[in-house]
């Protein structure tokens, strides 16, 4: 059984088919890359999986169980956590409190306040933010805020983590660190789906890549397969030079 599976997942905004009839799956332990040009529907697919939006029509299954129609907080407690493309932190709260909120409310089996605090401290260290633990989240640099979102998402003890462009705008060193971080997350036993425009990162760490274009899935396979696919090269890699933001 797949950890996550989507069947004919679709959503329309007015006349725009933002995601249209997409079948996909994610297996336990994988790092799956989700790529596609700007406006392809990648973030929308994350919104559908995390229940910010409801698929119409289509079906989403977590460990074989249908999760359509649940609320975002229920999806979170069932084990799907996410970060946001445009960061959505709790700005005036200290970094540590941002993470503690994740550990206090996210896990299906409640942690005590002490355990939650301990876990938050551990996770801040895991993403390399121990130094700024008590600084208000809004005072952190953008790349730190993105890592804070990762720590906060991990605090909910997910089985599956959805990362939306956490590597956008990073310099070379930061990029390598971020790739290392995703690898470390996989080693913790968390399955990862990551949206990314940075090809180097995608090709470097993904076990499998799903390609979206105009809301449709046009490719799905190992980095090698996708890189050699004619359709993918035509519609995506050809445009990649102007989609690298």
């Amino acid at each position: 059984m797949h950890l996550l599976e989507g069947k004919g997942v679709s959503i329309h905004f007015g006349g725009l088919a933002a995601v249209s009839d997409v079948d996909f799956y994610v297996d336990e332990g994988e790092i799956v890359g989700l790529i596609g040009p700007n406006g392809a529907g990648k973030t929308t697919l994350f919104n559908l999986i995390s229940a910010a939006l409801e698929p119409k029509p289509g079906e989403i299954l977590l460990k074989g169980k249908r999760i359509n129609g649940l609320k975002p907080y229920q999806i979170c407690r069932l084990g799907i956590a996410r970060t946001f493309q445009t960061v959505k932190i709790f700005g005036s709260l200290p970094a540590i409190e941002n993470v503690r909120i994740g550990s206090l409310f996210g896990p299906l089996n409640r942690l005590s306040t002490m355990e939650a605090t301990k876990e938050a401290i551990e996770l801040l260290e895991f993403v390399g933010l121990s130094d700024v633990a008590s600084a208000p989240a809004k005072d952190l640099t953008l790349s730190s805020q993105k890592r804070l979102e990762v720590a906060r998402a991990l605090a909910t003890r997910p089985a599956l983590l959805l990362l939306d462009e956490i590597m956008a705008g990073l310099n070379q060193t930061e990029l390598l660190e971020a790739m290392e971080l995703v690898k470390k997350i996989q080693k913790r036993g968390v399955t990862v789906v990551m949206i990314e425009h940075v090809m180097k990162a995608i090709m470097g760490i993904c076990d499998r890549i799903i390609v979206l274009h105009h809301g449709k899935k046009i490719g799905d396979g190992t980095p090698q397969e996708v890189a050699n696919s004619k359709t993918v090269i035509e519609v995506y890699l050809g445009e990649a030079s102007d989609a690298g933001d």
């Binding site: 995390s50 910010a52 609320k71 975002p72 907080y73 999806i75 979170c76 407690r77 956590a81 996410r82 946001f84 959505k88 932190i89 709790f90 700005g91 005036s92 709260l93 409190e97 503690r100 909120i101 994740g102 206090l104 409310f105 996210g106 896990p107 306040t113 906060r152 909910t156």
Partner: protein
């Protein structure tokens, strides 16, 4: 002389608010001293009818009424940023509970029931409207007050034939004790909520509601329940306060001013601090009672000027000003040593 007693009791009330804020902080030094002072303040407050003239505890009752409205309002709207203009509705439900049932059941039961009915109304209203954002929520809660007023007016004229009702009166000291009890219960409730993880949930909702939902917080649930808890206190306050007024009608019971004043008092005192709204309403209420009767025009003018000045120059209200002054004194001390 009686004004001095009022002022001493006002200080006692502000101290209680400050103490709650202090207890929420990690700094635990001198807590034994501060807790001891709480006992002193409570004694001062609870014995006021024994040593103060009637005027003094009638005055403090009015101050307490504004305190309950403002502190409950700030408990929900402060962290979440949902500006509710419904206090008058919840307060009015309490008033009408008293007016309708006052002669049939014991006083404390009436007060409790006023709170419970407000709680239920808030649950319904909250479930319907707390998904509305910003201006829409403000307008809806505003509309709620108007809606209830007019519905009630229609009902009274159609079925009872008279617009108003007489309320069973209670002694000034009884009203004072009950109001003080409600306020202290509110402080305890606020402390519990703020210290628990619900306090953190409320803050995260105010900071970024979408992210809060994806972190496993049942945002609608948290908002509705806390909104209803604050309505419970407003309802109780209305139920006991009417017993002082003897005659009410839908307009006086659902006076929209009671929706605006808590907002103004909280801003005036400083919403970033727990004791800010306490400070704001104590001072505001005192000035209102003093000036409104003696110099109505001066009062309204001063009211407007002070409010504009605070919004322009003191974004964190009086409590923020106190903080700034304290920081400046500390800096001077450091410079000297």
């Amino acid at each position: 002389m009686s004004d001095l007693m009022v002022i001493i009791n006002m200080l006692a009330l502000v101290y209680l608010g400050w103490f709650v804020e202090r207890s929420l902080q990690k700094n635990k030094s001198k807590m034994w001293l501060f807790s001891g002072l709480v006992v002193v303040m409570l004694v001062i407050l609870f014995t006021l009818p024994n040593y103060g003239p009637t005027y003094s505890y009638i005055m403090v009752t009015t101050i307490l009424m504004y305190l309950v409205l403002t502190v409950s309002w700030a408990l929900f709207s402060g962290p979440t940023g949902y500006i509710s203009l419904a206090p008058a509705a919840f307060f009015g439900v309490g008033i009408y509970t008293s007016a309708v049932l006052g002669k049939d059941i014991p006083l404390l039961a009436v007060v409790l029931l006023g709170g419970i009915l407000s709680f239920v109304l808030a649950m319904i209203v909250g479930a319907l409207t707390l998904r509305l954002k910003g201006t829409y929520f403000i307008m809806f809660t505003f509309g709620l007050v108007l809606l209830i007023t007019n519905l009630l007016l229609w009902y009274e004229i159609k079925f009872t034939g008279t617009r108003g009702r007489f309320v069973v009166a209670a002694g000034n000291d009884t009203i004072y004790y009950v109001m003080l009890g409600i306020f202290i219960l509110l402080l305890i409730t606020a402390f519990i909520i703020k210290r628990s993880k619900f306090g953190l949930a409320l803050q995260s909702i105010g900071q970024n509601e979408e992210a809060a939902a994806h972190m496993g917080i049942n945002v609608t649930g948290v908002k509705v329940i806390v909104f209803a808890i604050t309505a419970f206190f407003m309802g109780m306050a209305g139920a006991i306060m009417t017993m002082k007024w003897t005659y009410i009608d839908p307009y006086s019971a659902f006076d929209l001013f009671r929706s605006f004043l808590p907002v103004l008092m909280a801003i005036f005192g400083g919403m970033r601090y727990f004791y800010g709204p306490v400070l704001g309403s104590v001072i505001f209420a005192y000035l209102e009672e003093k000036l409104l009767t003696e110099f109505p025009y001066v009062y309204k003018l001063a009211f407007g000027i002070v409010l504009i000045a605070v919004i322009l120059y003191l974004p964190d209200g009086l409590a923020g000003l106190v903080d700034k002054i304290r920081a400046r004194i500390a800096r001077k001390k450091n410079a000297l040593t």
